[in-house]
Symmetry: D2
Subunit: 133 residues, 4 copies
């Protein structure tokens, strides 16, 4: 899987002169959606198959600041896949050095009710499993 690149925008910096910490949560979303695309489960296909998967938790550890024009390389992977929960892990690097790590936790819904991923979305489940090998 190809890592996702985010070039920090001027408006993403704050008065400390660095990327505001809230933006990394957005970079993680960008990287995740790109990774889903690469997985064959882009936004349109998920919508078409009725996969609704809200972020139920997020965490982020800031190692080094970044700033305007920095190109952050974000690698994405499955950390844990249970019956009803998916944990995705992120590593963000600048020039090879780790600047931030993060995780997002996702549940899956089917008509408003939690769904067992492997049963309700077997192809998606298989695609996720394949990334873990």
């Amino acid at each position: 899987m190809r890592p996702y690149l985010h070039e920090v925008k001027y408006y993403e910096t704050d008065k400390m002169g660095v990327t505001h910490h809230s933006n990394y949560i957005r970079f993680m979303e960008e990287a995740r959606l790109d990774w889903m695309d690469q997985l064959g489960y882009g936004f349109e296909r998920m919508e078409a198959e009725g996969i609704v998967s809200p972020v139920v938790a997020v965490s982020c550890n800031y190692k080094k600041p970044t700033t305007f024009k920095d190109v952050i390389e974000i690698s994405v992977g499955v950390k844990q896949l249970s019956e009803v929960k998916l944990i995705i892990a992120y590593e963000m690097r600048l020039g090879g050095k780790l600047v931030c790590t993060g995780e997002t936790v996702h549940c899956f819904f089917d008509g408003g009710r939690p769904a067992v991923i492997a049963q309700r979305f077997p192809a998606f489940h298989a695609a996720l499993l394949a990334t873990m090998e």
Copy 2:
């Protein structure tokens, strides 16, 4: 009509140490929605009456910078009201001094087609007129 107050947030500043210029467009939206509320045409009522009114143009003149913790006072008024177009004007002040002026232009739609405001939304039209007196 009571002016709207926006206290500048830390994340609204940029690496120049001032409020990023794009945020004033958001402050204008906040002030406009508050003004509509005061006018008796809050978001819920507009939705209920089927009033769809996208921003078709926006402009902003920056006079003085603002920064974190500044409380910007925004006054809102109708600049022009024609059959199919509404122009709203904004004045933003800090400690009485003008920091920014702006305008937004709005059209109105009825089932996807432009609507004559006075005919389709007479009560709203009357409320707008009343602010101009």
Copy 3:
């Protein structure tokens, strides 16, 4: 300590019709800065005393969605205070119901080097301790 109120802005919603999850990280910052003000350690005083305290980690658990015009009540408190680390906890409620909980982890720097909070900033340390009683 008085809880912080954030009214969700239109531009903070996303195409799902709810508050985008990244914004809660910003709400936590707003609430924390307000809480510091109440504590007597507002931004200006911290700057004047040379207290530099970056966010080194953040986490957020989303319980229920919120949307435009919702007024979120955010309570802030010290979860843990060690020699060199401060963990702040947040509870966000809407109409009394928990919508989100979160934590931020902070270190303190003195001239670019990690500082022992109680030694370098004794008054601030005492103020933090006082909130825990």
Copy 4:
């Protein structure tokens, strides 16, 4: 000059399901900074030469909505260059169709005072003129 591409992010949409209008101001900044880079006057060189050029006015005309995953092509050009003022024009297209046009007005400062562009920054002035031929 190569146009700038911005792919609309999920968090840039709002509850109407379209790109929030304030974001186009940010896209214009991204495109302008990229254009300056292509012009040989990237951010670092401008900083090194002491060129400070705040946005003094911005305007935007919204033609058609865009949404998540749309790749907007933004072309940038000088609209007007006077002794002390630069007006930059933007055209944003989606699949060849115009979705938004905009303008930004810039002044130039030298030690806090307005500067005559051709005198204070002759190489930059020449580069701007060259784009107009």
